[in-house]
Symmetry: C2
Subunit: 192 residues, 2 copies
């Protein structure tokens, strides 16, 4: 069952946009037969063909493939069920399992006064964003440093070097989300 139903997914997307196989094919630069065969799962398209087709919808490839699996998973998490991944310095509570087959990870972060994410700037794949729920925090992204207060928010590409530090004198609470899940790997070297 490695196949994943590419055909059905494509058909849904095409029909939701009210396109005929021929119309989509024309925009994508392939033939209608290609679309037909793929939709019937008669062939497993090459990535290049699929990309051409998705570009014409338009739908990103990652979007196309997002949202497989995941069912019969835990939905609700009581406050004391969140997995603690703090290191004494600061407290991060992860919503859900540590190696979830999920497209993002959700964190409930608590920074005591003076806490930070370490000396080095963090850089990793994915995107992250969050909302400051209480207190204030100093965030540096790609050389730009700002202090955010309650109700403020941030969002950036995690490949940009970044760092968090609580420069206030009260605890800072942030709810944040990262994609792809940063805490998926076993290693503890990579924070945030």
């Amino acid at each position: 069952m490695s196949g994943f139903n590419v055909g059905t997914r494509l058909k849904q997307l095409r029909q939701s946009r009210d396109l005929s196989q021929r119309e989509l094919a024309k925009r994508a630069g392939v033939t209608n037969s290609t679309i037909s065969l793929i939709e019937q799962n008669s062939v497993s398209p090459s990535v290049s063909s699929l990309k051409k087709i998705l570009d014409a919808l338009p739908v990103s490839i990652s979007e196309f493939f997002a949202g497989e699996e995941l069912a019969n998973e835990q939905v609700f998490y009581r406050a004391d069920e969140l997995t603690e991944i703090g290191d004494g310095n600061l407290s991060w509570r992860l919503v859900g399992a540590r190696r979830p087959n999920r497209s993002m990870s959700l964190l409930y972060e608590h920074y005591p006064p003076g806490a930070d994410t370490g000396e080095d700037m963090l850089e990793h794949a994915g995107e992250e964003g969050g909302v400051v729920v209480a207190g204030s925090i100093e965030i540096s992204v790609n050389g730009d440093t700002q202090v955010l207060h309650q109700g403020d928010a941030y969002y950036f590409d995690s490949r940009l070097p970044h760092r968090f530090r609580n420069v206030g004198d009260e605890e800072c609470v942030i709810v944040s989300a990262n994609t792809p899940p940063s805490f998926a790997e076993g290693g503890a070297t990579q924070h945030h």
Copy 2:
């Protein structure tokens, strides 16, 4: 530039896991030649082959393709900069632009007492999760109904029918994240 560098990306992933082409090929059930050719971008693999290979890493296909574009985007958002998308009934504040080329959307949600997401159950592609920051909320997912309080959290596949309702007598505040971005499409019909 429709190609996207599949080969380089695969090579990075393989090497980061300290696998040889032959070892990965063996686990994936393909030949080392296939890996070699793909990594050199000499061919654009079929989806089925690529999936076999990624399964062996393991890396999800969507993860593999995630993280293009996005740079020079706004990073920090002051509380009053969040785009309001409430409908009088409840207040949702979106972190970032309305049609971002992003892998998730981040929301600062405020449910007054009695507010809900409407009569019908919501169902859409993607995943969503959140943390209750203040107050309490009743959430139904796939027939399972729970009341979450401050510090509690949730995470589920958005294709499962779901609904939110504030059954308490104080405002409920939630920070939530959705993927893929739910508010990407222009239509206002689809909530959450």
